[in-house]
């Protein structure tokens, strides 16, 4: 099976990355990767502080090719959290923008490329990595001590191939980035297009900036992706009237889009000859598990589609029996070669092998229709998705508690509701949570409650709390 990071040589003269000010070929990329690789050694840990730039993506590819294990981190990470990660995992290298200034005499600059510099720690540290471990991604948002997902080389290669089959990716596709590359869905877009020698337009601009739309037109980008919130913005911008002559494919994942929105985009896209794909995934499955083919976008609106190639779904009822009839709700399980090796909470977890054995309990409740299409109907665990990021409600409660607040959390997608008994701290609590978990304050509602509702045994009765 073709590898998106090891088989770059065959596209030599094609353009691989373009930005507002630069474009480079695959050949040029390989030269830059080569220069980076001289400075690193196999089976070391590198922290990549990610942005959608040529230098950041080349660092990622260089690590995969050289057997260095990268942990992808958003460049806007809370400084305290980053320091915690450094203390916990002892990275040998950090690849980050020169603007990041939190490094001291423990770090030596050994290489640079464009705006990025490679820092090496001055004291040596030996990790023990499992030979299959390729990449570490953060999950469950950024609440205090993030859990890492251990992803293998096989996971990456398999998922890039399956995704590209589902979407019919070819060398003619030109994606433009709309999501961070440290976010599994954003990363999978880069991976699955590198596989075909595509040109990828890299930008940090948001779809609300004029520069973004200028870039889309100037580079003739043909495809972009979004989480539910992206589509809410696009709708408000009047997507049906926007002039997008080159766009031929749009994908949506990162949470469930409202049925009315799915229908709106399915129709608006069909009218203009754009293929609209709804997908479903999790970091624990490297990126994506299913895809609703564009031809079914309207007919099966609301569905997450069918499993990607080499993957399968099944549903288990309350007593863990497989549900064999249609329209009955159970927990959704996924089986496939892209199911990650497991989690890491500590340094010692890096040497662990594959703990999932190809099976993932998604935590989502789903049903299947008589044609074999799956629908998410709820969640088994207490978490919500806020702007595409999974937030565990229990972790938010713990985070608040650690910071001296007494509160309980409920929520729906894109809305976190915090109830506290500390009436005078509402604003402060909101600001703290917004900063610590990195979500916009408008998605957080902090409310006063005199007593938490509990049952006789003292357990919190979350169902007694109001969402609206």
């Amino acid at each position: 099976m073709k590898s998106f990071f090891n088989d770059l040589e065959c596209f030599s003269n094609s353009i691989v990355f373009s930005t507002k000010s630069e474009q480079i070929t695959y050949e040029h990329l390989l030269k830059d990767i080569q220069e980076f690789s001289i400075h690193v050694k196999s089976r070391k840990l590198a922290f990549l502080l990610c942005e959608n730039s040529i230098e950041c993506v080349l660092g990622y590819l260089a690590c995969l090719r050289a057997g260095v294990v990268p942990l992808l981190i958003g460049s806007s990470i809370d400084e305290e959290l980053l320091l915690n990660l450094i203390v916990t995992y002892h990275p040998n290298f950090i690849w980050a923008s020169r603007n990041s200034d939190l490094f001291n005499e423990k770090w030596k600059m050994i290489h640079s490329n464009r705006s990025y510099q490679l820092l090496e720690r001055t004291d040596q540290f030996e990790h023990s990595f499992h030979p299959d471990l390729a990449l570490l991604l953060m999950t469950s948002g950024s609440t205090g001590s993030p859990i890492l997902v251990r992803i293998s080389y096989k996971n990456l290669i398999e998922n890039a191939n399956s995704i590209s089959q589902s979407l019919g990716i070819s060398q003619h596709d030109i994606p433009i980035t709309t999501l961070p590359m440290n976010y599994t869905y954003g990363l999978s877009i880069i991976n699955s297009h590198l596989l075909h020698g595509c040109q990828i337009v890299l930008t940090e601009e948001s779809i609300l900036s004029k520069n973004f739309w200028d870039l889309i037109n100037a580079k003739r980008a043909t495809t972009f992706s979004g989480v539910p919130y992206t589509f809410q913005m696009l709708r408000r911008l009047g997507f049906e009237k926007m002039h997008l002559p080159n766009i031929s494919k749009i994908t949506q994942a990162g949470g469930k889009l409202d049925l009315s929105m799915v229908k709106y985009f399915a129709e608006a896209c069909a009218d203009r000859g754009i293929q609209f794909f709804v997908m479903y995934g999790q970091t624990e499955a490297t990126a994506r598990m299913s895809c609703l083919p564009a031809k079914d976008a309207l007919r099966k609106a609301g569905s997450i589609g069918v499993p990607i190639s080499n993957g399968s779904f099944y549903l288990l009822d309350n007593v863990e029996n497989v549900i064999s009839v249609s329209d009955e709700v159970g927990e959704l399980y996924y089986k496939g070669p892209n199911v990650s090796m497991g989690y890491a909470n500590a340094l010692s977890d890096f040497s662990k092998g594959d703990e999932n054995e190809g099976v993932l309990a998604t935590g989502d409740l789903a049903k299947m229709d008589e044609d074999g299409y799956y629908y998410i109907v709820g969640r088994k665990k207490r978490f919500i998705k806020v702007f595409g990021n999974r937030i565990s409600l229990d972790e938010v409660e713990n985070l608040c508690f650690k910071n001296g607040y007494y509160c309980i959390c409920i929520g729906i997608d894109d809305k976190l509701i915090i109830y506290t008994t500390q009436e005078n701290l509402l604003k402060e609590l909101k600001d703290t949570v917004s900063t610590k978990i990195g979500i916009h304050h408008s998605a957080i509602s902090v409310r006063y409650i005199s007593d938490f509702p509990r049952n006789d045994s003292g357990k919190i009765l979350y169902s007694n709390l109001q969402v609206d």
Partner: protein, 79 residues
């Protein structure tokens, strides 16, 4: 409330800024809360406050506190 007071209040509420930050230096992504999510919240709040409906180009061009005053004048809202 004057139009200026209403306009200022939208910025204060949307981006958690103080009154002295309301000047030409307040631009898109210059403060943490003025990201794409904050931007859409601001647009919705302005539309409600002034009973207007902003066009696509104006939502995208609305890149600063001062630029917004110019844009709203197109909707016959004088700040």
């Amino acid at each position: 409330m004057t139009n200026r007071e209403k306009y200022d209040q939208v910025f204060i509420d949307s981006f958690s800024v103080t009154k002295d930050q309301l000047n030409e230096g307040l631009v898109y992504q210059s403060v943490q809360q003025w990201d794409s999510i904050g931007h859409m919240g601001m647009v919705a709040a302005l539309e409600e406050s002034f009973d207007i409906m902003l066009e696509t180009d104006d939502i995208i061009d609305f890149g600063s506190y001062t630029k917004g005053i110019e844009i709203l004048s197109k909707y016959e809202v004088v700040i």
